[in-house]
């Protein structure tokens, strides 16, 4: 059980990186539908950087840079050129998937044995990790999990208690007012998307070098979309995102645990694999009080 919970926290980590990134970007009014592509490029760049340099830190740096590059293309098209966000996201996701598979081949050729790196090590926090159950689950994780423990509450504080947060939220609710206050709406939105790119890049790299130690083109397999869904289901609030992430992390850990345990005669493996997706559908249907940013998905057009 402790193993399962600990795995849930680990599998939840990248989802929370992605979900918080999405919350902040969507609060400014931009859906980052390129999130799946950003995860993929992060996984790719993280592996390339980590493998070639031998340092995981450089891998994560690469992942951040790659995520920001993809996000800036997305932001440029959606915010400055005011094109359709869903359509642009789909196009960029296909492009990025092709690019990462292609460039992986360019860099590594066709290796006879799969290339691997040593993934992030677990760092038990002294004292805290010896608390029964809670400590073993929460403080026996890798560094990224500890980082998100800090980022998650900070993002909540930033969004609701600072003037920066007010600007971000206003850009998605009433961009004209932000404009009148002399703040450039486009810039606010663009920077939020870049932030999402950096966070999404780290999240993607978590799968390649944080946990599996290798890269394949189907490594993300819809996890970016799960993060996207968590943002919706968490009511565009970091608090909601944390709760959602715990649920999805647990569902995913359960799927991995059940698969590792081997066949179960009563519940098929496929059911466990499908649980996070079924959960999203059920929650999307049952959730009532949506706090959706008014201008979500609508490009801002400044009057001349």
């Amino acid at each position: 059980m402790i193993n399962l919970l600990s795995m849930a926290i680990m599998m939840g980590t990248p989802l929370l990186f992605g979900a918080i990134a999405e919350v902040i970007a969507e609060r400014t009014g931009v859906m980052v539908t390129a999130i799946e592509g950003i995860f993929i490029v992060g996984a790719w760049a993280g592996f390339v950087g980590g493998y070639l340099s031998g340092s995981l830190a450089i891998g994560f740096l690469f992942a951040i840079i790659a995520g920001v590059i993809v996000a800036s293309l997305y932001g440029w098209i959606c915010i400055y050129l005011k094109q359709h966000q869903v359509v642009t996201g789909v196009a960029i996701n296909i492009l990025v998937l092709g690019l990462s598979a292609f460039l992986y081949r360019v860099i590594f050729g066709v290796p006879t044995i799969p290339l691997t790196v040593n993934p992030l090590a677990v760092i038990p926090i002294p004292l805290l990790s010896s608390i029964p159950v809670i400590g073993e689950v929460l403080f026996n994780q890798n560094i990224l999990t500890y980082i998100i423990y800090i980022i998650a509450p900070l993002s909540y504080f930033m969004l609701y208690k600072t003037s920066l947060g007010l600007t971000i939220r206003s850009a998605g609710e009433n961009p004209e007012a932000v404009d009148v206050a002399g703040i450039n709406v486009y810039k606010v939105r663009f920077l939020a998307v870049l932030f999402a790119g950096a966070m999404g890049g780290i999240a993607g790299a978590f799968y390649s070098i944080g946990f599996l130690g290798l890269f394949t083109t189907n490594i993300i397999g819809g996890r970016g979309w799960i993060a996207f869904a968590i943002c919706f289901l968490g009511n565009w609030n970091p608090k909601g995102a944390i709760i959602g992430t715990l649920a999805f992390g647990f569902a995913e850990a359960l799927a991995i645990y059940m698969q590792a345990k081997g066949g179960n005669s009563f519940f098929p493996n496929e059911l466990f694999i499908a649980i996070p997706y079924i959960m999203t559908i059920v929650l999307t249907i049952s959730r009532k009080s949506f706090n959706i940013p008014t201008k979500l998905g609508i490009p801002y057009k400044k009057e001349n």
Binding site: V90, L97, G98, F102, R105, F228
Partner: protein, 354 residues
């Protein structure tokens, strides 16, 4: 030719060319000459009848999945779940064919299977429309997630009920050749499903632009509130639009199973849902345009695969080319709006000067 139509052609052709140029630059990274590579691509798809016909074989399911996206898009709804609806269609097609092939005459089997496939996938799709109408659920998310659920269902069935007689691999038994879709050119893989797909594109165009139902669907897409005021039941439209959309994607399952694969294997055609969206974007959502855009994507797929085998260029080049073309097509949208605005402005200025 009117200026808008001219812009559409010119900008889209530019987008396709730029997409090729950008992919060519990527080919340079492999230390290969992109011009040679494209020469191989072009000559290989024209090298024999079989390969050339394969372009249209590949274009067939893409037309259906592109229509699936374009259809709901006209109602301002997003169906990102065509891949899943396609899987559901494929499962029903293979199960139905295996069940009826020894009971009914072959033409009747095909007919019954087509109806079942379209109905089944349509119902799967209409669930999305239903939760949108009844619970105001976000159809983008629900359709997206429904694909993963459909994939799990297909994998489960292939491992259990539908598994081949030998029980070795998670794949179905091959279909009896009596329930294969008839070929339209012998010596190739081109089957009657292609004709069906083209006719469907034309049919959907007529449905959307020449019938009251199509008018209502577009009205809801243009302004749901205004449509409601004028007495259109937009909730009904949501369900119906998703039913038709799902049925269209499901039909791709029928043509792929009975026309090409003649069996069901795990994870086949895993990219036709997203490619369909790309085609719909390229065609600007127009059903007639989809025919041509799908053929272009089909040619990329066939040519890209052969190019991979002959020049040792990875087949991911296909996705790369598709991705670049799509991004440039979106930029072309921007360019067209800009050109159009400028034209309007000039017209106004002229009018003032007079």
């Amino acid at each position: 030719m009117n200026a808008k139509l001219r812009d559409l052609f010119v900008t889209n052709i530019m987008a396709i060319v730029l997409g090729f140029v950008a992919s060519g630059i990527m080919i340079l990274f492999l230390n290969k000459n992109p011009i040679d590579a494209y020469y191989v691509l072009l000559t290989s798809i024209l090298r024999d009848q079989y390969t050339f016909a394969d372009i249209f074989v590949k274009a067939t399911p893409l037309m259906f999945t592109a229509l699936a996206f374009a259809f709901t898009y006209k109602a301002n709804l997003y169906n990102i779940g065509a891949q899943g609806q396609f899987y559901i269609g494929a499962v029903i097609a293979v199960a139905g064919s295996l069940f009826f092939e020894n009971i009914l005459p072959s033409w009747l089997t095909l007919f019954v299977v087509l109806i079942l496939t379209v109905l089944g996938a349509g119902i799967w799709g209409s669930f999305i429309g239903f939760v949108k109408a009844r619970y105001n659920a976000n159809e983008f998310l629900v359709s997206l997630m429904s694909t993963y659920v459909a994939l799990a269902i297909m994998n489960y069935l292939l491992r259990t009920v539908l598994i081949e007689g030998k029980g070795e691999y998670p794949q179905s038994d091959p279909l009896n050749s009596s329930v294969w879709l008839p070929k339209i050119i012998s010596g190739t893989r081109l089957h009657i499903g292609f004709v069906l797909a083209v006719l469907t594109c034309i049919g959907i165009w007529i449905l959307l632009y020449k019938t009251p139902l199509g008018y209502r669907i577009r009205a809801v897409g243009y302004n749901a509130e205004a449509a409601r005021m004028s007495g259109i039941n937009s909730k009904k439209i949501y369900i119906l639009a998703f039913f038709i959309s799902g049925a269209l994607a499901g039909a791709a399952g029928f043509t792929e199973v009975n026309g090409v694969q003649h069996m069901l294997v795990q994870g086949f055609n895993a990219d036709i849902g997203t490619a369909g969206i790309g085609i719909a974007i390229l065609a600007n959502g127009n059903p007639i345009g989809i025919i041509f855009a799908a053929i272009l994507f089909g040619a990329l797929k066939v040519g890209g695969t052969i190019m991979g085998q002959m020049s040792n260029i990875p087949t991911s080049i296909i996705e790369l080319m598709q991705g670049f073309v799509m991004v440039f097509v979106i930029l072309a949208y921007f360019l067209r709006t800009w050109l159009d605005n400028n034209r309007e402005k000039r017209k106004l200025q002229k009018a003032v000067l007079k």
